[in-house]
Amino acid sequence: MTDIFLRNLGWITAVLVLTTVGLLLLARIPLRYNIRNLRVRWIPTTLTALAFTAVIALLTVMLAFVSGMVRLTQMTGHPGNVLIIDESSNDEAFSNIAASDVGDLVNLPGLVREGGRSWVSMETYLVVNQLLPHARAGRPNRRFLQIRGVDDVRMTALVHELGLQPGGDWFSSAGVREIVGPNGQTITAIEAVLGEGIAREMARDRSPEELAQAKSPETLLPGDIFFLGDRTWYVCGLLQSAGTTFDSEVWVKRSLAASIFGKNTYTTVVARTPDAKTAKQLCDYINTQYKKAAVRALLEKEYFTSLQETNQQLLVAISFVAVILAVGGVFGVMNTMFAAVSQRTADIGVLRLLGFSRWQILGSFLLESLLIALVGGVLGCALGSLSHGWTANSIVSSGQGGGKFVVLRLVVDAGTLAAGMTLALAMGAVGGLAPAWRATRLRPLEALT
């Protein structure tokens, strides 16, 4: 049902807007009659419109969350990229490709080559526990951190088309650097490049002393350190990763990650071809003819699209809640409009005697209900729009295990607002119909006595 609603959102909006415009054009009873009555009865008008505002604001925020997730999964991935994981996995989180198997993958046909090198990124994706000794009260004392160990960070950045923020640098070929510890001793710290989102997230769980020395209270910056897996880590750069799933990742030299976290296999190989067509051919080749390693290939774009399963589940839940709330709002507007009709029976009688038809009476009351809905809906959308740009943590997943922890930005776009206004007008129309119908059933003379 939800699906049907979403797929036909355009149609439903069109029907509702056309109905409203049609009523406005065909109505012979002047609109100011409705507006003045709404003003005279400002208490129920306001209360009803506010109920609409609450429902629509909530819907807008919830949809903005989903839009944020959709945008995230849509923006990540390059059409020419092919994601290679082991054949028994459906997500890189569970993948294991032996070190001896990845070497041959650079010789795959159709890859982009430059200076004699194939554009292939060799990666080990890990989810690890980061202990948070300084976690604020009431918060868990560890977090799951996504680590991407990479063999050649410049190549990986090239394949994923990610750059560094000014002031940072990629990690060195050794992947470690000597830094001076708090007591003047020398520490070998692991160099890491952080996604913007996770850099902000990690900045929240620092001790007061760390915070006092921090370059920024908001985010970790190049030169800052953090602790993970019994080691000290040195932030050498931040990725320009906003809006992608890489925003929540920590990149590090793969051989170091392997030894610290005990994972010696690769999980993911990402190969760049010139275009989507070649990428598709490469996928087919790997999945049907390539026998040198037990791997399977996916188009990177399709992989990230598959992570939208979470969105679908959320959308279903949101629509369910929105519909229930909307029904509550409908009962509210019905009360208001029934009261309006019974209070204006004399008006209705006169209008009928003057020659206004039942349909014109119906239209007038329906329009009045839609006016309340319009005001409430616009307010709700406006209020909900304040959430635009908020960041939120979530998980995107294909629904079969795995998935990614992400930091997303809520997006209030035209579609979200259209959905909000559509629901508001639909509530107004449904709630206004029965009272308007009752108004047409009044016999003019009985209405006047």
């Binding site: 012979r28 100011r32 209008l351 003057l354 020659g355 003379l445």
Partner: protein, 247 residues
């Protein structure tokens, strides 16, 4: 079928009855009535005599159980409801005891209401509304809401609204019933004046012999029949059962 005649209103063999269970309640019993063009006719009768039912039949708000209602050359008792709605706009003007103005609209807007159903330009409407308000002497109260007008003034707006579409027939149901003696007198003067100058047919339903006395002809209704002459006895003016302002 068209019957050429000089009557504005013609009722032929009208019966109106309801059934309560198996019992038949006769409201109107084989009633005939003819009102020539331009006549000011008063209908009198005690409560329950069928006055209002008769008025409803003439206005096309109700249909007779038997018989035909003709207004000018149209048999309105044979028309459908939507035809009647359109017909009423052009041919009938109503004046009510309790004025029944829409409280949120100004005097001007109230008078304009029936014109909105006709294919007129805004300028044409404005001209007609202003003329009508001028006729009832309220051109300086156009932008007042009913709540800001006295009872007599409200009834003048009601009359202007009845006139504005230039209908052949004006039906008035106790138009002075809710007014004090002086205002009532003024309203009756106005109606008589309009009838003379504009040559409108007016059917006035009333309890009040003083009001009826202004008419060209008085008919008495009793137990569903027209009685030629009934002794005129003074009846108290009906009091308003409700306030003129909205709660």
């Amino acid at each position: 079928m068209t019957i050429a005649n000089d009557f504005c209103v013609q009722l032929r063999g009208i019966h109106k009855y309801f059934f309560r269970g198996s019992e038949r309640l006769d409201i109107l019993n084989g009633l005939n009535l003819e009102a020539p063009e331009g006549e000011f006719l008063a209908l009198m009768g005690p409560s329950g005599s069928g006055k209002t039912t008769l008025l409803n039949l003439i206005a096309g708000l109700d249909k007779p159980s038997e018989g035909e209602v003709w207004v000018r050359d149209q048999c309105i008792s044979a028309m459908s409801e939507s035809q009647l709605a359109r017909w009423r706009t052009r041919n009938i003007g109503f004046v009510f005891q309790f004025y029944h103005l829409l409280p949120v609209l100004t005097a001007y807007e109230n008078v304009e209401l029936p014109l909105l159903l006709l294919p007129l330009s805004a300028a044409q409407r404005r001209q007609q509304v202003e003329t009508a308000l001028e006729l009832v002497g309220l051109q300086d109260r156009m932008d007042h809401r009913p709540g800001q007008l006295s009872g007599g003034q409200q009834q003048r707006v009601g009359i202007a609204r009845a006139l504005v579409t230039d209908p052949a027939l004006i039906l008035a149901d106790e138009p002075t019933g809710d007014l004090d003696a002086r205002s009532a007198e003024e309203i009756l003067d106005l109606m008589a004046e309009l009838q003379r100058s504009l040559q409108k047919t007016i059917i006035l339903v009333t309890h009040d012999p003083r009001a009826a006395a202004r008419a060209d002809r008085i008919l008495h209704l009793d137990k569903g029949r027209l009685v030629d002459s009934l002794p005129v006895e003074p009846t108290p003016v009906r009091r308003s059962p409700r306030g003129s302002t909205r709660e």
